[in-house]
């Protein structure tokens, strides 16, 4: 789908992405509890990926079928991959002396 986004939108996003990256770095060095650090850093990571995918890669303007195939397909297959790795990982951890 052809859709022209204003240039300004891309540069506003750029500022937001830089700010999120700064938040990640500052949080990691702030000495917060591990769970809080992980929540902030991973939350910022997911937000950044969503912004890039949605606006820079124009997924926001594509049909639901494409979004489902691309995003859903990737995450479903990755989840399966991680599950298969996890099964092996747990088994190997149990075998460890």
């Amino acid at each position: 789908m052809e859709r022209v986004t204003p240039y300004r939108t891309y540069w506003i996003l750029w500022v937001i992405l830089l700010a999120l990256t700064t938040i990640m770095i500052v949080t990691e060095g702030a000495g917060l509890p591990r769970a809080a650090t992980m929540a902030v850093v991973l939350g910022a990571m997911v937000t950044k990926v969503t912004l890039i995918g949605g606006w820079y890669m124009h997924l926001k303007f594509e049909r639901a079928a494409l979004i489902a195939a691309v995003v859903g397909g990737t995450f479903a297959t990755a989840a399966l991959l991680f599950f298969l790795i996890a099964v092996d990982a747990v088994a190997m951890l149990r075998m460890a002396p």
């Binding site: 830089l18 990571m45 890039i52 890669m57 397909g73 990737t74």
Partner: protein, 203 residues
């Protein structure tokens, strides 16, 4: 077109002509990116398992110059913004601006690569190898070289493609769709770094 005697599939097919509503070039790029994403998902999944299974793991801030890594991240994000601007210009048929921003993206990408080369050189001089390193478990450096190496090779390919596209834009041969498809690839490289940076360097 149907072959005489063969069942006419289009008679039974009731779906749309273009269910995804995108040109085939763009769809093929998306499919490629999905498969490539799974490659990196496998790397990061394996890294996560090995790290959890290792009794100790080096503190990243002791090994990596975090300011330099942060600068590399800022640089890659900037290249995404310049690429998005190039795609926007190509859609507006403003080929001069598109060429300028594609070239700018290539330059920024090359800067990222140069910084990565310096990072690799420093770590190798400090004793990091694929099979061993001075900071602890051998998989630490193995995963570092493998994950950042694969990502870097994607950046390198992107810089080459961007340079070729800039030259084609200069000659008026590149289309808006071509720039957009290349933009998808470049943004994907940025997305992958969005995962690598926190999972490998920060957490």
């Amino acid at each position: 077109m149907t072959t005489p005697g063969a069942p006419a599939l289009e008679v039974h097919w009731q779906g749309g002509v273009s269910p995804f509503g995108v040109p085939w070039q763009k769809l093929m790029m998306w499919f490629f990116l999905v498969t490539d994403a799974l490659l990196f998902a496998g790397f990061l999944g394996g890294y996560g398992f090995v790290r959890l299974a290792s009794p100790s793991w080096p503190e990243q801030s002791d090994v990596f110059p975090m300011l330099k890594i942060a600068a590399m991240t800022f640089i890659l994000i900037t290249s995404s913004a310049t690429m998005a601007t190039a795609v926007g210009a190509a859609h507006r048929r403003d080929l001069q601006r598109a060429m300028t921003f594609v070239l700018l993206t290539a330059l920024v990408g090359a800067t990222f690569l140069a910084m990565q080369a310096i990072e690799w050189t420093t770590l190798i001089q400090e004793g990091a190898r694929l099979t061993s390193n001075p900071w602890g478990p051998p998989p630490f450096s193995a995963f570092f070289f493998m994950i950042t190496g694969f990502h870097g090779s994607h950046v390198l390919l992107g810089v080459i493609l961007l340079s070729v596209t800039a030259a084609r834009l200069r000659k008026g041969r590149a289309s808006g769709l071509g720039v957009e498809v290349l933009g998808l690839y470049w943004h994907f490289v940025d997305v992958v770094w969005c995962f690598i940076f926190p999972l490998f360097y920060l957490l």
